[in-house]
Symmetry: D2
Subunit: 146 residues, 4 copies
Amino acid sequence: MKQKKYIFTYTDQVRDYECDLQGIVNNANYQHYLEHTRHKFLEKNQLSFSELHKRGVDCVVARISIDYKNSLRPGDVYISCLNVEKEGIKYVFLQDIYKPNEENGTQQGVLCIRSRIETVALINGRLGTTKELDALAEETDSLKEN
Amino acid sequence: MKQKKYIFTYTDQVRDYECDLQGIVNNANYQHYLEHTRHKFLEKNQLSFSELHKRGVDCVVARISIDYKNSLRPGDVYISCLNVEKEGIKYVFLQDIYKPNEENGTQQGVLCIRSRIETVALINGRLGTTKELDALAEETDSLKEN
Amino acid sequence: MKQKKYIFTYTDQVRDYECDLQGIVNNANYQHYLEHTRHKFLEKNQLSFSELHKRGVDCVVARISIDYKNSLRPGDVYISCLNVEKEGIKYVFLQDIYKPNEENGTQQGVLCIRSRIETVALINGRLGTTKELDALAEETDSLKEN
Amino acid sequence: MKQKKYIFTYTDQVRDYECDLQGIVNNANYQHYLEHTRHKFLEKNQLSFSELHKRGVDCVVARISIDYKNSLRPGDVYISCLNVEKEGIKYVFLQDIYKPNEENGTQQGVLCIRSRIETVALINGRLGTTKELDALAEETDSLKEN
C-alpha cells in the first residue's frame, strides 16, 4: 500500500473505557483522538492550546466532517495523521486515523477515520489569523511540492 | 423567528464536566448529545439501541458532519431536535441543537449545532434495512408534506 | 423499605455512551453523576460552580470513597441523593444513587452507589470556608433533628 | 525522595480534553487513568480485560477510595504506579499517580493521587477467584520481602 504523506503523526492505543457497549470505540471519542493529535502537533511546534488560550488566542472548530471507515477495538494501536491547510481565514486540518500495517507495525494499514476539521482563530474574541499558525499551514503545502 | 419542524425534540442541560478549559462544551460532547437524542428517539418509538444490539442489529455511524454555530456554556439548557430520512440503505439523521428562546423558554432560539449523521444498519454484521427503522424515516417525510 | 432522608435529590437516566463494553455504566461515570448532582444542588441554592470559580472560590475534592453496590444499565433511571455536613474546614457530601422502586417509580429502590465526597473550598488559592456553603451544610443537620 | 516500589508503572500525558473549566484534570478522569493502568498491567501479563469478559470473567470494582493530593494540568506527564494484593476474595489495587521528578524526569516526584481499588472477579456472574489473577497478587507480596 502506498503511504500517504503527513506532516505529523501520533501513535497511541485504544483505552478500554473509550469503547461502548457495542465493543468498539464510541464515535465521539474519535473527536478526542483528533483533538489530542492537533494539540500534540501544536506542542511539537512549541505552541500550547492552553497557553494560546491564556494569551487570548482560542482555536475553535467551526465545522467537522468524519468518515467512519473501520472501527477501532479494545487494545488496538492507532496512528493518527495530520496535515493542515489555510483556506481564507480558516485553518483546515485533514486528519486520518489508521491501524498500523500488521507486517511492519509502523506504517499505515487499515484506514479507520478520514476527517476534515475546519478551525478558526479567535483573537481576543475576534476572528483573525496569526503568523505562528500560518507557518504551520505552510508545512503541508511544501509537502505537496515534493 | 420561524420555528423549524422536527419529529422529535429532547431538552436537557449542560453538565459542568462536559465543558473544557475554554469554559465551553467540548466539541466531542455534542456528539454525545446527538447520540443520546437518537437513542431517546428510538426509545420513544419502543426501540432500544442496546436491545437492537442484542438482536444482532447494530446501527453504526458512517459519516458525520457538524457545523458549530454557537457554543453552549455551563448550565445552559439546550433543545436537541431531530429528523430522519432514508437515502438508499442509509438512515440520515438531521439533528440541530438550539438554545431556547429567552422570551418563552421552550422554542428554538440561538442555533448551536447543525448536523447530518449518516447511519447504516448492520444486521448480523451485514448491511441491511429493517421495517421498524424505515417506519421512523417516513415520519419526517410526512412532516414535509404538511 | 424505609426511605432515607436527603436534602436534595436529582433524577436522571443513563445515557448509552456512559456504558462500557461490559454493558454497564463505567465506574468513572458515576463520579460524573455525583459531581453533576452537587452542581445541581448548588444551582438550586442560587450558587453556580462556574460563577464561584470566576469569583475565586474553587470547591475541590480532597477525598472520595465510593461503594459500588449495583450496576446501572442502558436506559436505567436513577435517583441521585445528597446530604452535606461540615467537618472542620471540610464540606463532606454524602451521596447515594438508587434505582427507583419499581412499584411507584419515585422512591428509593435498589441502592447502586454509596459515596462520601470530602471537599474543601479554595478562596483565591487558600483553604477557607464561606458563609453560603456553611448555610448549605446546616440543612442536613436540621434534617437529623427531625 | 525515597522511591516507593511498585510492580507496574505506566507513563502517559494529560490530554487537554480531560481538563475541565477549572483548568485541571476533572476528578472522574483519574479513575480512567487508574482503570487504564490496571488494564495495561493485565496486558503486560498476557491478560486482557475484554478477553476475560468474553470468557465470562468480569473484574468489577466493589469499592474505590481516592485521595486527591495535587492536580494534574494540561500537558503534564504523569507516572501511574500499581501494586495489587489479595484480601480474601478481593483483589485490592494500590495505585498512586505522580508527576515525575523535574530533575530526572523518570522518577516519582509530586504525589497527585493515592488510591485503593477493591475489585472482585465475577466468574459467569458468581464471585470467585482465578489462578491467573492470584499469581499477579503474589508479585506485590514478593516485593515486600525484598
